[in-house]
Each structure stands twice: as structure tokens, then as C-alpha cells.
Amino acid sequence: MDAQTSPAPAGARAHKVRSSFVSQDIESYPLRFTGSGGEYFRVWIVNVLLSIVTLGLYTPWARRRTAQYFYGQTLVAGSPLEFTAQQRRMVMGFVLLMLITLAYNIAANTGQDTAVGLLLLAGAVLSPYIWASAMRFRLGATRWRGLRLQFTASWKEVYTASWPVFALALVWFGVFYGMQMLSPELAQVLESAGEEGAKPAPPRFTPAMGGLLALGLVLTVLCIIRLEYNYKGLLVLRAQVGAERGRWKPVYMDFVKVWLATLLVFVLTLIVFALAAALLVGGTSALLPQLKQMGLFIVLLILFAAVFGLLLIVAATAPARAYREARMFRLVWDNVGVSQVARFKCHLRPGAYVWLRIKNMLLTLVTLGLYRPFARVSEYRMKLESVTLHVKGSVDQVAGVLVKQQQGGLGDALADAVGLDLIG
């Protein structure tokens, strides 16, 4: 075992630091992941098989196993994390979620527009609640050195932090009415849309309308960034390990900069794709005379092109998405800490992460998804091991506050539905 993994002797220094007035030495603990792709493949294939045998009902157990595997192999200052969610709660949340989905599907398929509208509206209004309960569940189920993490934000704080959601609705309300003011023809089109057979001339598109639309889009993006900033900040500031609270340093402009850089990466990817496509089309047009004789294969080719086009959209956005994820990860983990006791440093290289993601995506595609567990482990490892924990004093000094086992579980299942991953 190497020097990194023996923090247990750190306890030897427990008596040293009892007050923050003493000049303290700072200890560094790089975070470590001790699992492997092959091992997780086994965990994953067991989950997949049991899900198949139980027709999907195994999902909550599978989620728990996955979380326990990743947490148990994650060493923070030498101590593994623990995932301690109650299985019963997770199953209940899952069943409830399935029932809601079923109700929604039945309502949608039988054309009950009122019920569908009500369900969607409830979902929108409750989304901050769902997010917060998911975070409460996730932190509450995490334990380190016997101490439970906690998310202590009140519902008022959560809804206050969610103001960009409601601003977003206002922006689009404004754009919608502004458009109608600027172009009376558009209003007519909208009015006659409900009537059968009426097909008036399409409205002219004026520069003013374009400007309004662009303004709406910019404001939308700014709102989304603000929401992300608010939520991430709230999560860190209201997270607690024992009695120690989280510390948060990033400012809104940091987030905007990450998004601007992401936009640049996206544009660059598009240019590369366009060049590649131009070369490819040049190549195939030379083959065209031969293709004409192939008849039926043309149809297949078109079908293939359609599927390929869909993949292309995913592929074109992948580098930008990976880049944003890496930059955001570094920004957050380089600028947070635990009260005055500890702080994190992150040296994740976005370029390396983007390449890893592209490589993983290709291998997953080629293996029809069988490479996915290896991909997940390699990405998790790269992100986690880029983080170093610097502790002022010793890791033994954090005192706990009595926390009962968390109640939620529904939050987890709902979080699953809205795409918040437990790992990552």
C-alpha cells in the first residue's frame, strides 16, 4: 500500500489541533478511486441481467448497488464514502414514479388534455422541490468517517434560488407578445391555426423580429446559467458534514465565461465537422456513377444516412458538452471548501477529459453499449483523482451533529427521471 492510502495514522496527530489559533500545518490528501472498469463491468452486468429477469423492477436495487460500488471505492483522506440509503425507501420512490409515469402515459394516450396539462404544470412548479429533495437524499445518504452529509436549505431558499425559472417564463411571454405586436400577420396566422383548411400567406420576417428573438435567446441562456449558478452555490453553501458548512467562492461571471468558452468549442467542432463533410461528399460524388447501378442499396443508404445524421448531432455536441462538464467541474472543485477546516483543489485538464469522452463514446458505439461501464469508470476516475483535499489540522476534528436517517427516497427516483445521476 502506498503512502497515500494510509491516513489512519493521521489519527496520531489528533491531539495536535484543537484550536485554530495554533499555527497549523496543512495536510494534502489526493482523492483516490480504487475500483476498476472490469470490476464495475461485473457489477453492471449483474444489474442488467437482474433487471431483465425482473422486467425492470430491479432498478432501485441496481441503483443502490451502483452507488455503493462507486462510493465504497472512493477514498477521501483514506476513508471510503458510504452510501447508506434505505432500500425500502428507494423501492417506494421507484414504484411511485412508475405510477406517475403510467398515469401520465394513459392520460396522454387517451387524449385527456386537461389531465396532461395539469400533470405537466405540477411537474414544472414542483421541479425546484424535486431538485432539492434529490439533493437532500443524495447528501443524506452519503456518509464519511461515520458522519452523515446533510443538505440543509429550506424550501424558501430553494424557491428563491429558482427565480431564473420564473424569469424564463416571463422572457418567453414577452417574446411571444412582442412578436405579435411587431407583426400583425403572425397574429392572424396564430388565430387561424385552429381553423380547418385556412392557409394564409406566411408572415414576413423583419429584422426587428429577428432582434427580439435573439434577445429572447440570449436572456434564456443567461437565465439558465444563473439557475445553474444558484443551484450549485446553494448546494455547496447548505451542504454540511457534521457541524461544518460548505464554503463557496465562484461568482456568476465565472460561470458565464465557462459557457462562452463552451460556445467557442462548439463552433470549432462544427467547423471541423463541416470540413470533414465537404471532403466526404467530394469523395462519394466520385463514386456516384457506380452507385447508380445498385438500385435498392440507395434506399438503404438513405436510411443509413438518417441514422447517421442523428448520431452526428450527438457527436457534434459531444466535445462541447464534455468540455463544459470538465470546466465546470474544475471551477467548482477548485473553489469550494468546508468552513475553515478544509478546501479542495482540482487540476482536471479539459482537453484530456474531452478526448477521453470522445474515445469512450466511439468504443461504446462500436461495442453496442458493452463498453459503457468501462467508460463510466474511466471518466469518474479522471474527475475524482484530479481533486486534492487540503485539510488544515487533521481529518479527525470534524464533530458531528445527530442526524436521523433521511426520509426521502422519492426524491432519488424522481431525480432519476429528471436526469440527475447519482454518480458524477
Binding site: S6, G11, A14, V46, Q73, P80, N105, N109, G146, L370
Partner: protein, 421 residues
């Protein structure tokens, strides 16, 4: 104030704690008084091996040195915790159900450190993972199916085989059966309203009003109504399901006929003209209509909705984590298999109904062959180079929504098919 003092040990921690903790996780500890006591107690209870561990009580991040022992009980292993820092303290015993037992991920290469969940009493960190596993096995651990699959290849392969067989059986027989049963609860009004919507959409898009003369339409409608009258009650799968069967004509979509849920059957001009071109009697068209009535009576559209719902949800949950391509592919292929089985059922119905009406099914078979032949010709013309007749590759038959036309036509000509009961 950045931290509260640990509640148990107020005052400066004893240097003994520090020394004990400073020892590496493995290895024998020096025989301290507590350890000797614990050891003798263990010996009295049947030589339970003790493992050094760190106990976090949930109140502070400061570990306390403990010895962990496992005892076999009828309910499974129970955990005994001997605190070493408090001389003379009673060992704490946790029954099997009070402990969250960590799963073993890898028997050959155990993780460097394992954490045992003691619920509200905190957690215990153990470095000697291999010894821990051995002690658990000795104490009569009963691993769950997931863990047995995780650590034993034969179990994994066994479940793999069971999953393959089970999945095949479920989607081959289970889902169609469930769909047949569930369709009983779907009201007729729902079917007719769906059919109206669908037809309205198609009228906007691919379909145009029929250009057949009114007389011809009336002629065929009369034959259709007569046929519908003769629909035998013993072929009725859904008791009390009496949709109003009506025939409509449209132009477009080539030579075709289709049934909508709730009793509406649509015939295109193309198929009527194709029959006339080949000089086939109207019995051919009546046979096609009988086939479509079969779809209506067996409620195939409604069953397909249920089947697709089960497919998408079930396969999405089961295979969604593998990849979207695999789960969608599986769902599409199975959906096509259901569609082919519906076609066969409708063929059987047509054969039975035509026999009841004392009409021949052979003309219908010839019509199907002729239409398929025409389509082949068209393809060949596009290909320019004919040559060998394309044999349908087995893979293509998987990708088809209808069974092989030649075999269908043969069965119809003979007026009986092996798969019809």
C-alpha cells in the same frame, strides 16, 4: 468555533489512543489489557477471530480503535464490537439485521478498505478485507443472488441463460397474452375516436378521395356487408364486442387495404384496379376484406398499442442502461414479430370466414402474389440488371411487418394453413 469537542472523550485525548491508532491496520497488536480481555472472551465463545478496526460513532470524525468479531447465529452472522479505548466497557452486539453488510465486489482482489454500516451507531472501517470476508463466510453469511452473481461465474452464466430464456418466453407468449386480455377493458368508443383521428390525418396527407365509379363502390360495399353479416360468432374472440363494420374507398398508398380499430376498413383504388388488371374475380377483393375484418374482430390495433407500450417500457428499463440502440432495436424487432403474428391470425380468420361464406380463397392468394410480383418488377426495372430471383434472406424476414408473401399465397390457395387452429 470550528468544531465541537467529541462528546465521549472530553479533555485531551489520551496518548494511548494515538499510539494504538498510529499502528498500521494489519498485524497483531501488542497485548493491551483490553485486547487480552477481548481475546479471552472470544476464546470462551468458541474461538471467534477478531479483526482490528476503527469505529466512527457518527458523532465525530475521530476514529476509536475497536476489535470486531463475528458470531454465527440462526439469523445469520452477528457483529461484536469491543471498544479498546474505554477500559472495561461492555462489548456492543449487533444482530444480523442491525448491520448493513457491505457487498463483496471481487473475491480475488478485495478492495483496500471495507466499511460496515451500523446504521445510527456509525460505521466501522476495516483494513483486513480478506480476513473479514473469511470471517463472514465462517460465521454463516448467506449472500444474496446479486452477490453470488458478482463473485461466481457459474451463477452469473446460469442467470444469463435464465434471462435469455425467460425474456424470449415473456415476449413470445406473455406480452401477446397480456395484450389480448387488457384489450377487453378498452371501450369501443375509444377505438372509434382514435380511428377517426387517424383517418383524418391520413386524408390530409397521403390519401385522396377515391376515383372509382360510385356503382363499383356500391357493388363492393354490398359484398362487404354481406360478408360482415356472415361473420361467425364462434370466431369471435371478444364476447360482446360488436363493432359496426364499414367499408370506405381512398386513392393513394399503392395497392393496399387496411383496417382501423372500431370497424372501419379502407380499400385503395390501387388494389381494386390491380385485381381487374389480372382478371381476378371480386372474390379476391372479398378475401382481402375478410382478412381486414379479422384485424378488426381480433382488435389487433388496440393490442398493438398495449404490446408496444409493454415493449418500450420493459425493454427500455431492462436494456436502456446498455444502450439506446440495443433497447430500441430489440423493441422494433419484437414489434415486427408481433405484427407478423397478427397478419397470420388475420389470414386464418379470412380462410375460416370465406369457407363459411362458401367462397374461394385462392383468388386472394393470386392477388397477393400478383401485387408482390408487380413490386418486384418495379424494383428490377430500377435495377436494370435482372438475373437471379432474389431469395428473401432470413435477416430480411425479421425486418418485415408481413410474413413471406409466397407462403401466404400458397396457404390461401390451399384454403388452409398449418398454423391455424
Amino acid at each position: 468555533m470550528t468544531h465541537a469537542p467529541p462528546p465521549q472523550t472530553s479533555g485531551p485525548p489520551s496518548p494511548v489512543d494515538a499510539v494504538e491508532l498510529a499502528l498500521p491496520g494489519h498485524g497483531r497488536r501488542p497485548p493491551s489489557r483490553e485486547a487480552r480481555e477481548g481475546g479471552s472472551r472470544a476464546a470462551a465463545q468458541g474461538d471467534v477471530p477478531f479483526l482490528q478496526a476503527r469505529w466512527f460513532d457518527g458523532l465525530s470524525s475521530k476514529p476509536r480503535p475497536v476489535l470486531v468479531g463475528l458470531r454465527a447465529t440462526p439469523q445469520g452472522p452477528s457483529l461484536v464490537l469491543h471498544p479498546l479505548s474505554q477500559p472495561g466497557a461492555e462489548p456492543a452486539v449487533f444482530t444480523c439485521r442491525q448491520v448493513g453488510w457491505p457487498e463483496a465486489w471481487n473475491e480475488r482482489r478485495p478492495q483496500p478498505r471495507v466499511v460496515v454500516d451500523l446504521r445510527d451507531h456509525g460505521s466501522v472501517e476495516i483494513d483486513a478485507v480478506a480476513e473479514w470476508r473469511a470471517a463472514l463466510a465462517a460465521a454463516g453469511e448467506r449472500p444474496g443472488i446479486a452477490q453470488r452473481m458478482q463473485t461466481r461465474w457459474p451463477v452469473l452464466l446460469g442467470v444469463l441463460a435464465a434471462a435469455a430464456i425467460g425474456l424470449t418466453l415473456f415476449y413470445r407468449y406473455g406480452t401477446p397474452w397480456a395484450a389480448t386480455q387488457l384489450a377487453r377493458f378498452v371501450p369501443l368508443q375509444w377505438e372509434t375516436s382514435v380511428a377517426e383521428n387517424v383517418l383524418a390525418q391520413m386524408d390530409h396527407g397521403t390519401l385522396k378521395p377515391s376515383e372509382l365509379p360510385k356503382v363499383r363502390q356500391a357493388q363492393l360495399k354490398a359484398r362487404f356487408d354481406a360478408l360482415a353479416q356472415q361473420a361467425p360468432p364462434d370466431l369471435q374472440r371478444y364476447a360482446g364486442y360488436h363493432p359496426v363494420l364499414t367499408l370506405e374507398f381512398r386513392k393513394g398508398m399503392g395497392a393496399n387495404a387496411f383496417a382501423l380499430p372500431g370497424g372501419k376498413v379502407v380499400m385503395t383504388d390501387g388494389i381494386v384496379l390491380a385485381a381487374a388488371e389480372k382478371g381476378l374475380p371480386d372474390d379476391a377483393l372479398v378475401g382481402v376484406l375478410a382478412h381486414e375484418i379479422g384485424h378488426v374482430v381480433y382488435r389487433h390495433s388496440t393490442r398493438m398499442v398495449v404490446e408496444q407500450g409493454v415493449l418500450n417500457m420493459g425493454l427500455g428499463l431492462a436494456l436502456g442502461d446498455v444502450s439506446g440502440i440495443v433497447s430500441t432495436g430489440a423493441s422494433v424487432l419484437t414489434g415486427l414479430a408481433y405484427s407478423r403474428s397478427h397478419e397470420r391470425e388475420a389470414d386464418c380468420y379470412a380462410i375460416a370466414l370465406m369457407r363459411r361464406a362458401a367462397l374461394p380463397t385462392a383468388p386472394m392468394g393470386r392477388l397477393l402474389l400478383a401485387i408482390a410480383h408487380d413490386e418486384d418488377e418495379k424494383e428490377k426495372k430500377e435495377k436494370q440488371q435482372g438475373g437471379s430471383k432474389a431469395e428473401p434472406h432470413p435477416v430480411w424476414s425479421l425486418l418485415s411487418s408481413h410474413p413471406d408473401t409466397v407462403r401466404r399465397a400458397q396457404e390461401l390457395e390451399q384454403g388452409h394453413a398449418p398454423h391455424c387452429s
